[in-house]
Subunit: 180 residues, 2 copies
């Protein structure tokens, strides 16, 4: 990728690339794939992701689930968290996420909460399944088939109505709240 | 909750509760609701969650999205991350998650990756919507209705086949890999 100058553009120092033409989507994606492979050599999982902000800043993330003892440390989540810290905002509107693999439901929903504009990926959930990962299983969980839901039942427990919504009541009464 | 002794039992010091009967599910859930309300008074979002491990250790999390500039810092994710750090494992098999509100898709999938056994909640996605949160919108996104998918299109970009799966190939060739 260096022949494309992408290693410069994808530096994670938060500075916009100014000296070269912007990489193409395929070039960004190839970079996400490259850092995924590098991450395996660094005791990480085989996943990499890049967030490109509306103004062209680039933030990288790789899968550190087992390395950091954090099941949420997927590449996409890591890239989103890095981008938010780097931009100083919890809102990445206008950004594009490039992922070496189709985002799992956690990463897809993380992208929604981060207000990412669009997502591009290389490998599919089935490629991930072939490599031993549960992305496809968890997508089926979200499709709501009873047998798949059995791996983790979710149910409400009835509390008094006022107690159930007490946090929201407090929220509505808090004039200084920051909505998102 | 102190009259139930729950504040002692739910200390986050990682020690099993040994001096009192285990709280009931409703008592754990009430504690999750209580810390959600407290969190609003501490510049956080109106959500709280508790992970109870198979051996009775209790770990808390609250929503710090805007406070920490981290759109993934939902209560459930925070509690899962705390539990994994506290137990020294990325696998919480046997644990139960109690959340003040029905987990959003991100939190549900985080729970799946963490191998949580079951989830209980108090308020619903519709209660959250009434308070201005997008949980219900994002659930509809997962239901795949085209109009809802338009808020964040997801698509693959074709790379050469060997490059597309290169991270997984590296993974399969890495004898020291830690699977999850």
């Amino acid at each position: 990728m260096d022949s494309l100058g992408l290693s410069t553009v994808t530096a994670t120092d938060g500075k916009p690339a100014t000296t070269q033409p912007a990489p193409t989507p395929a070039e960004y994606l190839a970079r996400a794939v490259a850092i995924a492979t590098e991450n395996v050599r660094n005791a990480g999982g085989p996943f990499g992701a890049i967030v490109v902000t509306a103004d062209g800043r680039v933030f990288e993330g790789v899968n550190r689930v087992t390395a950091n003892l954090d099941p949420t440390a997927h590449a996409e989540v890591s890239a989103i968290r890095a981008a938010c810290q780097g931009t100083g905002s919890f809102d990445l509107s206008g950004a594009t996420l490039y992922s070496s693999c189709e985002p799992c439901p956690m990463c897809l929903a993380s992208s929604l909460w981060a207000r990412i504009d669009r997502v591009h990926y290389a490998a599919t959930r089935d490629d991930a399944a072939d490599a031993g990962f549960d992305d496809a299983v968890f997508y089926r969980y979200f499709e709501g088939v009873d047998a798949d839901r059995a791996i983790m039942p979710v149910s409400d427990i009835e509390l008094p109505a006022a107690e159930r919504v007490a946090p929201f009541t407090e929220w509505q009464h808090t004039a200084t709240r920051t909505e998102y």
